[in-house]
């Protein structure tokens, strides 16, 4: 019961943790950008720009969640089975939010109607906020523990997962992802939108920092080890002081690094607080599901380790390359004119290069303006 995790179990806990950190750092700004579309986008051109900043990458970012789920299934089947069946309705809401969010990008530009677009913008905003909230609530529940019986089956209802500590966790992720989306937009756009994104980040960074620090302090109070308390207090202080300071800086890169760092730090704390458990039971401490209990066979973990050692670097390399390909800032002039920014419309767009004045291409270019790929800078 209280056996320590083996080396491979520990390694897989770390790997799954890295997948979650990657997911929150990457999809975190997708959620933030989704929540910001109506806050920052003053007209259709700006909204189109906003959607285009995450257009090429959001689907790849979502795979981090899928792989985190798959890795949990492969390495800790009992953990996967307990959490997924126990957080049943919460998980359904997450899935519904992810589905709505995924299609709202696609459908937004399909009809030239203010009402249609406003509906999809609201769908995108609400679904992004709901997913961000639910992930924070879920992770706070993971470390806090849930009602669970001796067979490792969760016994509570959806409402048992929504206690104050968990709700604070949800507010932390919503505010952090919101700010993260703003720093991302200030990194990926230029001009007026860039400045307004910066201003938003400056205003919300202190709120996100305060909520995160409060959450870390609350977590520290629940812990029994004094050393861990000190570390958590330091982390809370670092976020509280560092995040607002970084958001005030001129460099968008620094501000983005700070929000990404705060999310990563929060996740490291969560993972450290959870270890060596997979899911604590609040019903009876003896019913807690430990990593050692949930771990799969040594052979499976060896196989998966070999697969991960080969493929994780490859995946990281091409995902990094895709961010490098789409590193250019988007400006208003790239999107002026009718046309839609959705992936489908990319096919209809011509992409005249500014420095090139080839008349044939100019003649062939319809009113549709260029999209993401317009200008190589």
């Amino acid at each position: 019961m209280h056996a320590d995790p083996t080396f491979l179990e520990g390694l897989w806990f770390v790997l799954i943790g890295i997948l979650w950190i990657g997911y929150f750092v990457l999809e975190g700004f997708d959620f933030g950008v989704g929540m910001l579309i109506r806050v920052l986008g003053r007209d259709d051109v700006e909204k189109r720009m906003i959607i285009h900043t995450i257009g090429p990458v959001w689907d790849g970012n979502e795979v981090w969640l899928l792989v985190a789920g798959g890795a949990t299934f492969a390495a800790f089947s009992a953990w996967y089975a307990t959490v997924f069946s126990g957080f049943y309705l919460a998980l359904f809401l997450v899935l519904a939010a992810l589905i709505v969010r995924g299609v709202s990008f696609e459908f937004w530009g399909k009809v030239e109607s203010a009402r249609w677009r406003a509906s999809w913008e609201w769908a995108l905003t609400i679904a992004s906020a709901a997913a961000a909230l639910l992930f924070g609530v879920a992770w706070a529940d993971f470390i806090h523990g849930v009602p669970m019986n001796s067979a490792h089956q969760m016994t509570g209802t959806l409402w048992d997962l929504l206690h104050p500590y968990a709700l604070l966790g949800g507010l932390v992720t919503v505010s952090l992802f919101f700010t993260h989306g703003a720093t991302f937009l200030s990194l990926r756009t230029r001009g007026d939108l860039e400045q307004r994104a910066k201003a938003i980040a400056r205003r919300t960074a202190p709120i996100a920092a305060a909520l995160t620090a409060a959450f870390l302090v609350w977590t520290a109070l629940d812990l029994h080890f004094s050393a861990a308390r000190v570390v958590l207090a330091l982390a809370a202080g670092a976020v509280a002081a560092g995040l607002p300071a970084a958001a005030r800086r001129e460099s968008a890169r620094d501000a983005f690094a700070a929000t990404a760092g705060a999310i990563a730090l929060l996740m490291v704390v969560m993972l450290a607080a959870l270890y060596p458990n997979a899911l604590p039971s609040t019903t009876n401490h003896a019913y807690t599901l430990s990593l050692a209990q949930a771990g799969n066979s040594h052979y499976t973990l060896v196989v998966m380790t070999v697969v991960a050692v080969i493929f994780v670097p490859i995946v990281l390399a091409y995902q990094a390359w895709s961010y490098w390909v789409f590193r250019h800032r988007l400006g208003r002039e790239d999107f002026e004119g009718p046309g839609t920014p959705t992936p489908l419309a990319v096919f209809d767009q011509k992409f005249p290069r500014k420095e090139d004045s080839d008349r044939e291409t100019a003649a062939a270019t319809p009113a549709t303006a260029a999209g993401d790929g317009t200008v190589q800078r």
Binding site: D59, E62, L65, V67, V103, F107, V307, V315, R353
Partner: protein, 471 residues
């Protein structure tokens, strides 16, 4: 409906919905990659127009396939937690590999392909659609390896303490004889689906008298592509049926509704009976003498095992119980799948014959048939899937775990009804909008052929470079 039925209904509905779009995406990704390769090699603008036109259908299909795919992965843990605990050590590995090796590849490079027009060199851009296509196929391999393990478990042992299955050889799981046939059968079926979609859309455009080079070149590619894919799907399907007689004899006997072991067994073409495991009698039954023995045993008077005898043998092996699936379902899904395959074969053959006679573009009758023909691959994919899953019942993992012992004990009927209604509403909206978007793309049609009076854009090398970069 009890909770087990609800959980099964949910899995069935969400999987069938997801499985409309997966084969379309796999087939179209390959077709689009082939179009773009031809453009890259020949520089002929019509192949570029084809790439862009079919690419739009690929994107709509991928978008819906991706968002509904997340539900698929999570559902094992949500509704089938006992199953997940029982098989996770074996089943989780191919699933995690699918995510790490295939999903990252297809989603990242699809994004690069969509937004990389004009930003990447033509060679790298072409590579990105091929990597997307390879990703879709790799994903199919891993999920079919996982499913094949449920049909024919290999490379595992039972843990004496937990009584759960544990992986002993990943190599055996990935080279399971079942997946070595199921993978080509399913992939070729997906290529058929993509080909039939292209043929149907071209037929709609021809019916609306919107003939263009894109339509004729697409048909010239899709018809032979589909013919070869259908024939090969059938060949591997035949291999699967022979393997199944050894691995899951009950499923094959149920496919033929052959209740008693027979020498020189006749083949039933059309029969009806109640949807029970043991219907008292067949109300209609048209049979061809000796054909079943000929097919399964390759001999006139060969013995074919019947459901009742196999059931008795399984009772001896696995203990008391009923090991018969609902025969009406297996019998009819098997026939509908094969019937749809034969019709697709006829459509692609007929189309090729008309093309040779240069009548393809004027034969309204064929065009109307080809439009209707698009239901066939979906019907075949659905019935094939239902057959293989229902035919395995009462097992969820053949010989190891029964479906009734697999679900999540702490998920109530109310939970299931809430989520099932939610999925039905969400998926209903998805299919309505997806279908509407596709019909808009058909209405919009491909870019028209360039005006012959205008000098072609490819005339000068600099204009050529510009066009490559400008999309």
């Amino acid at each position: 409906m009890n909770t087990l039925d609800l959980a099964r209904t949910q899995f069935g509905i969400t999987t069938l919905f997801h499985f409309i779009f997966v084969p379309i995406s796999i087939g179209l990704a390959l077709f689009v990659a082939l179009c773009q390769t031809r453009y890259y090699r020949t520089g002929h603008e019509s192949y570029l127009r084809m790439t862009k036109f079919w690419g739009k259908f690929l994107l709509i299909s991928m978008a819906i396939g991706v968002v509904t795919g997340i539900v698929q992965e999570f559902q094992f843990g949500m509704n089938w937690s006992l199953y997940s605990k029982y098989v996770g050590d074996v089943f989780g590995a191919p699933l995690a590999m699918e995510g790490l090796i295939a999903f990252f590849l297809e989603s990242t490079f699809l994004g690069i392909w969509i937004f990389g027009w004009g930003r990447l060199s033509p060679r790298v851009h072409l590579a990105s659609i091929w990597l997307t296509s390879i990703g879709t196929m790799a994903s199919a391999y891993f999920i079919l390896a996982a499913n094949s393990w449920m049909q024919h478990p290999v490379g595992y042992k039972l843990n004496p303490v937990t009584h759960h299955a544990e992986l002993t050889s990943i190599f055996k799981v990935l080279t399971n004889s079942t997946v070595l046939l199921a993978f080509p059968h399913t992939i070729l079926g997906a290529w058929t689906t993509g080909g039939m979609l292209v043929i149907a859309v071209c037929a709609v455009l021809l019916l609306r008298r919107r003939h263009s080079e894109v339509v004729s070149r697409s048909l010239r590619m899709a018809l032979p592509f589909t013919l070869v894919a259908v024939l090969a799907t059938m060949a591997f399907g035949d291999g699967q049926a022979r393997l199944m007689e050894k691995q899951q004899p009950m499923k094959m006997a149920a496919a033929e509704a052959l209740y008693n072991t027979t020498k020189g067994a006749s083949f039933s073409i059309f029969a009806t009976a109640g949807l029970e495991r043991h219907p008292s009698h067949l109300s209609k039954d048209i049979r061809i003498p000796h054909l079943l023995s000929l097919i399964s045993d390759l001999s006139w008077n060969g013995t074919v095992k019947g459901i009742n005898q196999i059931n008795a043998a399984e009772q001896k092996k696995y203990g008391p119980g009923d090991y018969v699936p609902i025969v009406g379902v297996t019998y009819w899904t098997f026939r509908l799948m094969i019937g749809a395959g034969v019709l697709m074969l006829l459509i692609s053959l007929g189309g090729l014959w008309l093309m040779r006679k240069r009548k393809l573009e004027v034969s309204r009758r064929f065009q109307k048939l080809a439009v209707l023909g698009f239901v066939l691959p979906i019907l075949a994919n659905w019935t094939g899937w239902i057959f293989t899953e229902v035919g395995r019942q009462p097992w969820v993992v053949f010989g190891l775990l029964k479906t009734s012992d697999a679900r999540s004990p702490n998920v109530s009927s109310a939970d299931l009804i809430i989520t099932l209604s939610g999925y039905i509403v969400l998926y209903g909206i998805l299919i309505a909008i997806g279908g509407w978007l596709m019909s808009r793309e058909i209405k919009h049609g491909p870019e028209p052929d360039p005006d012959p009076d205008q000098p072609p854009a490819t005339s000068s090398p600099s204009a050529r470079r510009e066009l490559v970069l400008s999309y």
